[in-house]
Amino acid sequence: MIVERLARATMWLAALFTVIFLMTPLLVTVAVSFGSSSVFTLPPPDWSLRWFQKLATTRGLWPSLLTSLQVAAFATAVALALGTLCAIALVRGSFPGREAIATFLVSPLMLPGLVIGIAMLQGFKAVGLRETYSSLLLAHVVITLPYVVRTVFAALSLFDFSLIDAARTLGCSYPAALMRVMVPALGPAFLTSGMFAFLASMDNYPISIFFTDAWTKTLPIQMLQYVEENPDPTIAAISAGLVLLAILALIVGDRLVGLRRMADF
């Protein structure tokens, strides 16, 4: 009995600790961003919006945010197109090596980003591509593609393709059947994989660092440079904005597929 009680107590303690441990950095950042102190004092001596006001005049911040948004949007769009086609081939095809191909397509998630970045930097140099912005766009598709392939592949494996035949029997043309049966069924998979791919591209540091120059910087690169040069709560204010964005993404994800399915691994 005592052993069982002990095990149960450990379990609930670990659960409590996990929630507090994981939420602490986010809460601390948000608290600091609304404080008046410039040295991260907690609890802040007074509340203020000065760090948010300072964002407007922070040099380099808005261009880097714009660059990150553009790159993430481009990379996600390309990944959704290429990844969906590929997932269809892997689920519907009967050619050999499908499992190996699927593993290869998600492998960028499992290898060190820094090494992938270095390899791409040298590869691009070797073929004469020196333009930073195009390199950044091309590189980020490698970051986003695995997310799309993984999620859409899983969703397609559960999709009953005879529904398309049923729709055609009932008078739909083939493209119309695809649009009215398959696309709505895969909608949640497109949206969640697109969302996670977008966030992964927005957040990427180790690959982006090799494709930046004085004019083209993504948000994480610019932010890390700030933290190293003049650490003040301005970064906390940006972070608070990104936390808000993540909360919105979580709410959207919960509505679309539910929290429990987002935790599927």
């Binding site: 996990t18 950042t29 290898l111 540091y205 660092i209």
Partner: protein
């Protein structure tokens, strides 16, 4: 279908664009990096690796990398294993709180989280205040720029990748198995060791593989939480390319890092398959 006509499956063509893209922009550059690291001015050579391992400083870098990764993985496992049981068996309220706490940080960038830990680990930070409040510390201490601080910060950032794979196997375990064991007279410890633990091992293996490989290759977290004084393979690789302009050293460490990562992926999937076939 015979061998040749299977290749002519027209659906296969849909996979071609994504495959060509990844082969050209990802696989070939990686292979090229690998190949180049074995080619010296006089042909094929192992000299860069021999030089690298001849330097005691570099051995220090390798042991730093592995020991930090082991610590981070151990901390994540100790917290994550019981926490994933709680997640699977909690009531609706706690389960939602846990899911939010686990999934929300996943959609926030590593720069934001590592910066947050810079604040948390300061001398006047939350950890220091907490340790004083519960009476473990007599005076405030700075954990920032120490190994302990790095392990805490990295374990926090990678914890979800330990909990989620274990949770995904724990939620499939039939609770009646445990009751059956109890009815047959097995002690709780025996039931855990012979029934529950073996069933969760595949999840544990993939959790450990995720956390260990991410800890080995982390770059932003050590840069912000410990600084240049403590080099790992990953920070040394980054520094060689970005600051020292020493591409030779950088390529060597990059290939070692790559070999470690591939070894972990291959080893863990082999282990997971073995565990899957025996249980």
């Amino acid at each position: 279908m015979n061998g040749l006509s299977r290749w002519r499956d027209p659906v296969a063509l849909l996979a071609v664009p994504a495959l060509v893209y990844l082969v050209a922009l990802y696989a070939l550059p990686l292979l090229w990096l690998l190949a180049k690291s074995f080619v010296g001015p006089g042909g094929i050579t192992l000299a860069p690796y021999a030089d690298f391992f001849a330097d005691p400083f570099n051995w220090r870098v390798v042991t730093n990398t592995l020991s930090i990764a082991l610590w981070v993985t151990a901390v994540c496992l100790v917290i994550g294993y019981p926490a994933s049981f709680a997640l699977a068996r909690a009531g609706a309220g706690l389960q939602i709180a846990m899911l939010v706490a686990i999934i929300l940080p996943l959609s926030i960038g590593v720069v934001v989280k590592a910066f947050a830990w810079q604040i948390v680990l300061r001398r006047d930070g939350v950890v220091s205040q907490f340790m004083m409040a519960i009476g473990l510390w007599d005076e405030p201490q700075r954990l920032l720029f120490t190994e302990t601080g790095l392990v805490l910060g990295a374990a926090n950032i990678f914890l979800p990748f330990m909990i989620l794979p274990i949770y995904s196997v724990v939620k499939l375990i039939d609770p009646r198995l445990d009751e059956a064991g109890a009815t047959l007279g097995a002690t709780p410890v025996y039931r855990f060791l012979r029934v529950t633990l073996p069933l969760t091992l595949p999840g544990v293996v993939s959790g450990i593989a995720f956390v260990f490989s991410m800890s080995v290759s982390m770059y932003v977290i050590p840069s912000l939480l410990i600084g240049d004084r403590f080099q790992t393979l990953s920070t040394l690789t980054g520094r060689s390319f970005l600051f020292m302009r020493n591409e030779q050293l950088g390529s060597t460490t990059a290939v070692i890092l790559l070999a470690l990562a591939v070894g972990i992926v291959v080893g863990s999937s082999w282990l997971a398959r073995r565990l899957g076939s025996t249980s």
